[in-house]
């Protein structure tokens, strides 16, 4: 689930004139940067060019091939001559006769709203608490971050132990405490999405917490002191002073959360391959493309729909970042 999010930008906290410069070497480096030697330029070109080529070759080209394949019927076996062009048939099918598609779109949206409403807010709250440098802070930090680093197989197993209808901890607990009849956490399509969201949120909270913690450490302490001198309480200090200073982190969190919601996959796949109430676009893509099913064309069409949705968010993000850089 951990995405390759950029490390939090620090410019917000180290504008010239605000407090002592944190990295004494920064000024010197900047001045040498202006006089790039020939060797420097070649090195830079290589260090940026090779990754760029790799990304284009390994990400952008396959993405374009996916778009092309989405207009074909192909079982992934045999040469390219066995590819049959069928136009937009797959897109029409997805929206008209493929029952899991509409729930999948809805579930991805629910996933997104939930991630913002609960784990993101909770992660921010935990970060603010941990930022106060209380004793044992690193212990709490490890506890909350733990779920993020657990392997996907283990996470699935843990939640199976908790949610299993017949042998699960949760139903056993409810039966003892409230004498409740067993609840079908995984099988009832009205509740299984939310049961799984708790599991997903469990991981997302730790991740967001770490991002905000890094951001909070970068906020200049003099801002807080100034707010305190002006008589602002802790809540007011946070909402009026610290939170606005966290703008770059907020953007990163926004993007990370959107991306996580769009590519949510592992937990539902482990539970029931993303069926019966747990449909997600990513799971539909996988179940169509992998295995003997090999509906490469149809799966590609679903993947393209997902790509288009992601592009909307990516464009908003990039344009915001660029505008920020111009200012």
């Amino acid at each position: 689930m951990v995405s390759n999010a950029p490390s939090p930008p620090r410019e917000g906290a180290t504008r010239p004139g605000e407090g002592p410069p944190r990295r004494p070497g920064a000024a010197r480096r900047r001045s040498t940067g202006l006089r790039n030697g020939r060797a420097d330029r070649i090195t830079l070109a290589l260090m940026l060019g090779v990754p760029a080529l790799l990304v284009v070759g390994l990400v952008w080209l396959p993405a374009m091939v996916t778009v092309a394949l989405s207009f074909t019927r192909w079982d992934g076996i045999g040469g390219l001559e066995t590819i049959e062009w069928i136009g937009t048939q797959h897109y029409v099918d997805a929206f008209t006769i493929y029952p899991p598609f509409e729930p999948a779109l809805r579930h991805n949206l629910v996933w997104l709203v939930f991630l913002f409403a609960v784990p993101t807010v909770l992660g921010m709250f935990l970060a603010v608490l941990l930022d106060r440098e209380l004793r044992g802070g690193s212990v709490y930090q490890s506890v909350f971050y733990m779920p993020v680093v657990l392997s996907l197989a283990l996470v699935g197993f843990i939640w199976q132990l908790i949610y299993s209808r017949d042998q699960g901890l949760l139903n056993a607990f409810l039966a003892v405490v409230a004498d409740a009849p067993p609840v079908d956490w995984f099988g009832d399509p009205d509740i299984n999405l939310y049961a799984v969201l708790v599991a997903a949120g469990w991981r997302h909270t730790g991740y967001i917490m770490l991002l905000y913690l890094a951001g909070l450490k970068a906020v200049d302490p003099s801002l807080r002191e100034a707010a305190a001198i002006d008589g602002a309480g802790p809540v007011r200090t946070f909402t009026r002073v610290v939170f606005p200073a966290l703008l770059p982190i907020n953007l990163v969190v926004l993007v990370v959360t959107v991306i996580d919601a769009l590519r949510a996959f592992d937990i539902v796949w482990i539970i029931n391959r993303g069926r019966n109430g747990l449909e997600l676009i990513s799971a539909l893509v996988t179940s169509n493309v992998i295995g003997e099913a090999s509906r490469v064309g149809f799966g590609s069409a679903l993947a393209v729909i997902m790509l288009v949705i992601s592009l909307v968010f990516i464009i908003v993000y990039v344009s915001t970042m660029l505008r920020g850089a111009h200012r």
Partner: protein
């Protein structure tokens, strides 16, 4: 902090690389499997086995060991977890597959034969296996070009399983007809049991119920044609299957959609459920000392005209990759795996497997094995299982969600069959 680790950093980097290679191999699981160093050895045959249970590994090793001793060739067995293997088999067969590959008879084998991904083994049938199998089994291993592409070695049939002790204790009679079956279910419910254990979270176990009801209500011929795409799914025949299923649904264990098939088997083992429609693989989940208590009967008759002698008996076997590195050795090996002795050795060790050789010695069978074997031998027709008798994309992408939806809302059958038919037309092209 400041002193450097003793020794050059080389080994570390190598460890890291090895780790990365390991991770890569995991991702590309079977793709890299064949890159062993002994590949050039002319006396080596490689084999991919999808039988990964401990008993199955042991049985394969035993049988392969005999082959090595008899032929002087050496065999490298690469074992893959069955589900993971199925998910990557298309890529695997197009890469550098092993010489011999464990797989399933029927549609899923024919498909690979048609695409030229596996080799003709009719020579082996001619030479070593004349009269070894019934015509039915032969048909299941034959592609549309009339040639055989698989050598079968065992089967794990489906039936309604139950605990003999429970039936004796409560005086339950084995039901032979629909009325008796429903009556027994009602009695079990009155006794506080879940009559039919049911766990369909993974989806595919629900196919067994559809298959059996369709076989009993519409007959094996219609069933196979339907799965082959020859009939409409939006038909009175198919609706009658779902109708009969809806009548049985209340007798299934509650909330089947959240329960894995293993958990359902556990309910039968523990005596919380009375019966379970399942494959012989249920034997794996019974504790060894209780295996004697496991009994079964054929899924009862629903229509006297059609009877109850069609048996769902998925057949496993071995095929040859498209361009085996060692074709002679590989043909010898598949011939060996299908031979009577190997089948007997293999099936004696793997509790779910029965031999399908016509001359297989049944005297050493357990009572259960003998009973199931009789069903197979006297079967009017053999079917494989829905996901082996039809296109895999139709089975997994259309049928699993459809069957799960039916279990969720059994009251809108007409809408369901219409939806299946629309998707079937799109996939089959008619």
């Amino acid at each position: 902090m400041h002193h450097r680790p003793v020794g050059p950093p080389g080994p570390r980097r190598r460890t890291l690389l090895r780790g990365m290679a390991g991770a890569g191999a995991l991702l590309a699981l079977p793709g890299l499997a064949g890159c062993g160093s002994r590949r050039d050895d002319p006396d080596l045959v490689t084999m991919a086995s999808n039988r990964a249970n401990p008993a199955q590994r042991e049985a394969i090793a035993e049988s392969v060991g005999n082959f090595e001793a008899d032929s002087g060739l050496s065999v490298e067995v690469n074992t893959f977890q069955s589900t993971a293997f199925q998910e990557s088999v298309n890529n695997y067969l197009q890469g550098t597959p092993d010489d011999v590959i464990g797989w399933f008879a029927g549609y899923r084998m024919r498909f690979f034969a048609e695409r030229g991904l596996i080799s003709d083994v009719s020579g082996v049938w001619e030479r070593n296996l004349r009269g070894a199998f019934t015509d039915q089994v032969r048909d299941l291993c034959t592609a549309d070009d009339g040639k055989q592409y698989m050598v079968p070695d065992s089967t794990a049939p489906w039936a309604v399983f139950h605990r003999r002790s429970l039936f004796e204790e409560r005086g339950y009679e084995v039901p032979a007809t629909r009325e008796e079956f429903v009556g027994l279910c009602e009695r079990m419910r009155a006794d506080g049991l879940a009559p039919l254990a049911s766990g369909v979270r993974e989806g595919w176990p629900a196919m067994g119920t559809f298959d059996h009801l369709n076989l009993r209500l519409n007959g094996p011929e219609f069933h196979l044609e339907l799965l082959n795409g020859d009939h409409s799914w939006d038909s009175p025949e198919v609706r009658s299957v779902f109708g009969a299923w809806a009548e049985l649904l209340p007798h299934h264990q509650a909330d089947p959609l959240g329960r894995g098939v293993n958990e359902a088997q556990t309910a039968l083992v523990r005596g919380e459920a009375g019966m379970m429609l399942c494959g012989m693989f249920i034997a794996h989940s019974f504790p060894e000392e209780d295996l004697d208590d496991l009994d079964c009967f054929a899924f009862p008759e629903f229509d006297a005209q059609i009877g109850a002698d069609a048996v769902e008996a998925p057949i496993d076997g071995f095929m040859l990759s498209g361009e085996p590195r060692n074709p002679e050795g590989a043909r010898e090996l598949v011939g060996h795996m299908g031979a009577l002795k190997s089948q007997e050795i293999y099936t004696a060790i793997d509790p779910q497997a029965l031999p399908i050789h016509t001359e297989a010695d049944t005297s050493g069978f357990s009572a259960l094995d003998a009973k199931v074997n009789d069903m197979v031998v006297n079967a009017g027709a053999l079917t494989q299982y829905m996901d082996r008798d039809t296109r895999p994309d139709f089975a997994s992408v259309v049928m699993i969600p459809a069957l799960q939806r039916f279990i969720r809302q059994p009251d809108d059958i007409a809408d369901l069959t219409a939806s299946i038919q629309r998707q079937k037309a799109s996939i089959f092209g008619h």
